[in-house]
């Protein structure tokens, strides 16, 4: 693979920036690890350390309320030297994971799937960022850097998702399913990406193959591969932990039932703190159903652009999953530049960006007022999470509108640039 000078420059600069940050501010990683915006109960590095400590001392880390991450992370991290004595190797691992994620983004961008796919061809193809710019946008996003320095384990989920997409756009449907299996194994919710991802693979297959395969059989085959990969990973996990139900309920049960209401940037925690006990289960069901409902709607309406469905679903997850953090937002922001050609069609970018900036600046301040200064109460931080979710959902809705408008313009070449309305 030819590597040009710009790629090396961006990747090297991203690496050096992170290294500089941890060398100049050695306490920064621990500070970020403790931030609720970055670390949630399901991706906190401190909780991973605690799980690792118990694991290396032959205490089941799942027989407790602290560790809720996938079992395979334990042997992986037990290979690394202790973080308290030697933090650099772990940090370097996270830097490299970030670079690998950026590399996958370059692949996705360079495939051109976002502008030109089997069923769709964007009108404004010429307005486009190249792969290196997309990667740079991802690597120098402060949210990505914060996630990387905080050593949040959601970067591995990000890797799984980005690899699944990059393999899907290059036609390696089996690898895509394996990567998606890995991501789903780590944090459960990526499994919802299965339908658009299979459609993406299917469209790729149609493009390359002479004889189009049967859609249903193709889908079932890939569902089988996904399930097999998850089952394989779960099998490995059983070998590690020895108790299947214990780790299942401590990891996936924890994702599903949301027992830990530690504050985060999402909408679930405060809602379920304040929810009346008798309605808790009902609203848990409603919230999950709501999250899953976007898959069907987006996939059907945007059938021609499955990659855009994947990107939008990542945005939905960043807003509505039970334990969201800014790493989910950073993944969504990383996929947005692939759709640079939609930016001229978006209507509320200023409002959305203002809301996001407003909440990301005021969020830490309000959290401080509540938890440390005591001069504010929980509503301060809660209000900011509402604004954050609102900003993200406006951005999401606006980009979906732009994509639909783009499709409409493709169908009506004569009406380009005219005012449109939805009826």
């Amino acid at each position: 693979m030819a590597v040009d000078r710009r790629t090396v420059g961006v990747f090297g600069a991203a690496f050096v920036l992170r290294l500089l940050l941890i060398c100049l501010f050695p306490s920064l990683p621990d500070l970020l690890t403790g931030r609720v915006e970055v670390s949630t109960p399901v991706n906190s590095f401190k909780r991973l350390q605690e799980g690792l400590y118990l694991y290396t001392r032959n205490v089941s880390p799942y027989d407790g309320g602290v560790f809720h991450q996938a079992p395979l992370l334990l042997p992986l991290f037990s290979l690394l030297p202790g973080v308290q004595s030697n933090p650099i190797p772990t940090a370097i691992l996270y830097f490299l994971v970030d670079l690998v994620n950026a590399r996958a983004l370059v692949t996705i961008s360079e495939s051109g799937q976002s502008v030109q796919s089997q069923l769709h061809s964007a009108v404004r193809k010429h307005i486009r960022w190249d792969g290196v710019s997309v990667a740079a946008w991802f690597l120098f996003n402060p949210f990505t850097i914060a996630t990387c320095l905080a050593r949040s384990t959601s970067v591995f989920t990000t890797t799984g998702i980005l690899f699944a997409v990059s393999n899907a756009v290059t036609g390696n449907s089996v690898n895509a399913m394996l990567a998606l299996g890995f991501a789903s194994y780590l944090s459960l919710y990526p499994a919802l990406l299965f339908v658009p991802l299979v459609l993406l693979c299917f469209d790729q297959r149609l493009q390359s193959a002479n004889k189009p395969p049967n859609g249903i059989i193709y889908g079932l085959q890939h569902a089988g591969i996904l399930l097999a990969s998850i089952a394989g990973l779960l099998g490995l996990s059983v070998l590690i932990t020895g108790n299947f139900w214990e780790f299942m309920s401590a990891t996936y049960g924890f994702h599903l039932l949301v027992p830990d209401l530690t504050p985060n940037v999402g909408l679930w925690w405060y809602f379920f703190i304040e929810m009346f006990d008798s309605f808790r289960e009902f609203f848990l069901g409603v919230f999950w159903l709501h999250l899953a409902s976007y898959v069907g709607g987006l996939t059907m309406r945007l059938r021609r652009q499955p990659l855009f469905v994947v990107a939008s679903l990542l945005g939905v997850f960043a807003i509505f999953k039970p334990y969201p953090s800014i790493s989910d937002a950073s993944l969504y922001f990383a996929t947005l530049p692939l759709y640079r050609h939609l930016f001229p069609l978006m209507r509320y970018t200023f409002f959305a960006i203002s809301a996001i900036l407003y909440s990301s600046l005021l969020g830490p301040a309000f959290y401080h007022l509540w938890i440390y200064a005591g001069s504010g109460n929980a509503n301060f931080f809660y209000a900011i999470t509402l604004v954050w979710s609102l900003g993200l959902s406006i951005l999401l809705a606006d980009s979906i509108f732009a994509a639909i408008r783009d499709e409409w313009e493709q169908d009506h070449p004569d009406a380009q640039g005219t005012e449109v309305k939805q009826v």
Partner: protein
């Protein structure tokens, strides 16, 4: 073993009235031990003990053993029971070593541990719940709140004090209620368990007003089987009440309890100070002890002797006082005084029918009573600020210059305090006074850790530690404070939550008898939500979700058309046609209006 244990307990208090006759079957003993402590305090240790043979216990023939408690124990299959009610703090720095070597006291609040005979863990827990519910009723305490989150199963911190045969099926369960306020409603049922029920003997001194006004007090109930080498078993119940009264405070008359400053002419001032004058005084340290008498301090008289006490001579000396022999002590006429050989202890033979009183006049201290130095000083505090996370710091000081102290630290933490054991760190300050960090494995020889599960069980941590001679060890670990559902907070949510005291069991005591220290309980502030607005939160969150859902699906389900097409399309719908008619109507009316104008 048990005889040795009891003997050593009594030796610690320099009282040896009964050691050979302790296990004669059914009998009852009571003893009051008084010792003035520095800072005008008075330690009063009451001890009541009775034995019943195992056979009559099993047949429910209760004589001295309280029937109410006996039947609860039989119903809950409890073989050994220890119940403690404690308030206040033992000031080890000025008062020295604890009475009964700490084995008769509990942590602040209520502490209960029992050995329950059951085939499995679950059955044992079911029996335990039965036991706590029944004891809750018996002692008017909130013991029914000892649920699975407050119950632990200590592994090395406690050992049965009684002799158990076939101890395979015994399960030790331990529960604490650090927030329980011990008060008179617990004293009344406690007194009812005594054979004389507070009507005669030393138990007549108990007055709830004085007892719970003490700087420190601990009530205990211990039930344990005692077996001889021949296999004869008795069930022993021992009840103790220990308290440290502030003499001056206790002497205040009940009708007029407000303390008032001394008149100027009664003040002892340091006249050598340059600023000493009519209105300025540097108080001199007292050189005399406070005068006190039993009736003044306890507010009641000691009414005779409980007639059920054994008649073997020694048990008649049921009141002992530990002051130097040269000190003057006045007693009621009918009673007689016996001075012990140790130079400090004197015991009194009471007249069975007469009220008894001791009066110690104010006099100059010549030879102070030696106070035993504690083997280990322990202190536990929460460090850090903010409601998000914090740290626990436990400081152990070994005052001995020669021997190291080995002990077990037992902590049971509530589930909403999430400790990170990987952050456990130790620093040591040796004789040189230099503080340095050392790996924890140099101090901690073994660890038993059972992490908490949210809303199911609390954390249980047992560490076997060793503190070298003349050094101070500080253990720290981080923890995170969980945020609870709003219904899980108590009404006074911002007061904080009580964390049970740590129990320290010292292993290498000189005579291998148990020695316990308990730290003070802690107050843990948790982050709180806004309790006033569950509806608002539900509505606002739902609005944001509805807004996102509505916008996205509105965009997804509607058709995109150009503006011109839109007007044409709108005109064809029913709504559009109606609107068109309305406009036409308006146009027809409007021209008329303009004409009128």
């Amino acid at each position: 073993m048990t005889a040795l244990f009891l003997c050593s307990l009594l030796l610690a208090l320099a009282v040896t009235p009964w050691s050979s006759t302790a296990f004669a079957s059914p009998d009852y003993h009571e003893q009051l031990f008084l010792q003035p402590l520095p800072q005008s305090s008075l330690l009063a240790s009451f001890n009541f003990r009775s034995n019943t043979s195992q056979q009559s216990f099993d047949n429910q023939h209760f004589r001295y053993f309280p029937r109410a408690l006996g039947q609860i124990l039989q119903h809950a299959h409890t073989k050994e029971l220890h119940l403690r009610f404690t308030t206040g703090r033992w000031d080890a720095e000025s008062w020295g070593s604890r009475p009964w070597r700490g084995s008769k006291e509990g942590g602040t609040g209520v502490e209960l541990w029992a050995w329950i005979d059951a085939p499995g863990d679950e059955e044992a827990f079911a029996k335990w719940i039965t036991l706590t519910q029944s004891l809750s009723g018996l002692f008017c305490a909130s013991l029914n709140f000892v649920d699975s989150t407050r119950t632990t199963r200590p592994v090395v911190s406690f050992e049965p004090a009684g002799n158990h045969q076939g101890a395979d099926g015994l399960h030790l369960l331990h529960g604490t209620l650090p927030g329980e306020v011990v008060c008179t409603e617990n004293l009344t049922p406690f007194l009812k368990l005594l054979p004389c029920k507070g009507k005669a003997g030393i138990s007549t001194l108990f007055d709830g007003h004085k007892l719970f006004d003490a700087a420190w007090q601990s009530m205990s109930v211990d039930v344990q089987p005692i077996c001889t080498a021949e296999g004869e078993c008795t069930v022993q119940i021992e009840q103790t009440v220990d308290m440290v009264l502030d003499i001056e405070r206790s002497k205040r008359p009940r009708a007029n309890p407000i303390p008032r400053p001394l008149p100027n002419d009664q003040l002892a001032c340091d006249t050598s100070k340059p600023y000493n004058s009519e209105d300025t005084c540097y108080p001199l340290e007292r050189i005399t002890d406070n005068a006190w008498s039993l009736s003044e301090v306890f507010g009641r008289n000691l009414d005779g002797v409980c007639p059920l006490t054994g008649s073997d001579g020694t048990s008649e000396q049921s009141v002992c006082l530990r002051v130097p022999h040269e000190k003057q002590v006045f007693i009621t006429q009918e009673a007689s005084e016996i001075k012990k050989d140790d130079g400090f202890t004197r015991c009194f033979s009471l007249s069975p029918s007469q009220a008894f009183d001791i009066s110690v006049p104010e006099q100059t201290v010549t030879t102070p009573v030696p106070i035993e130095e504690p083997i280990l000083n322990a202190e536990r505090t929460i460090v850090g600020h903010g409601q998000e996370r914090g740290g626990m710091r436990i400081i152990f000081g070994n005052p001995s210059n020669t021997t190291a102290v080995d002990f077990i630290l037992f902590e049971s933490l509530p589930w909403f305090l999430r400790p990170y054991i990987h952050t456990l760190q130790a620093t040591i300050t040796g004789q040189d006074g230099i503080r340095r960090e050392i790996p924890t494995k140099d101090l901690v020889s073994s660890t038993y850790y059972r992490p908490a599960i949210d809303r199911e069980r609390g954390t249980q941590l047992e560490l076997a530690l060793s503190v070298p001679a003349a050094s101070t060890v500080t253990l720290t670990y981080d923890f995170e404070k969980a945020i609870l559902r709003y219904t899980e907070y108590p009404p006074d949510a911002n007061r904080g939550f009580n964390v049970a005291p740590a129990v320290i069991r010292i292993l290498n005591t000189p005579d291998s008898a148990p020695f316990y220290i308990r730290s003070t309980s802690l107050l843990l502030p948790l982050p709180t939500p806004d309790f006033s607005m569950p509806y608002n939160v539900i509505i606002l969150t739902s609005t944001v979700i509805a807004l996102a859902f509505g916008t996205v699906f509105n965009i997804l389900v509607r058709r995109v058309v150009s503006v011109d097409e839109a007007t044409a399309l709108v005109a064809q719908t029913v709504k559009g046609r109606l609107l068109g008619k309305l406009i036409a109507l308006r146009d027809r009316i409007r021209p008329k209006q303009t004409k009128v104008e």
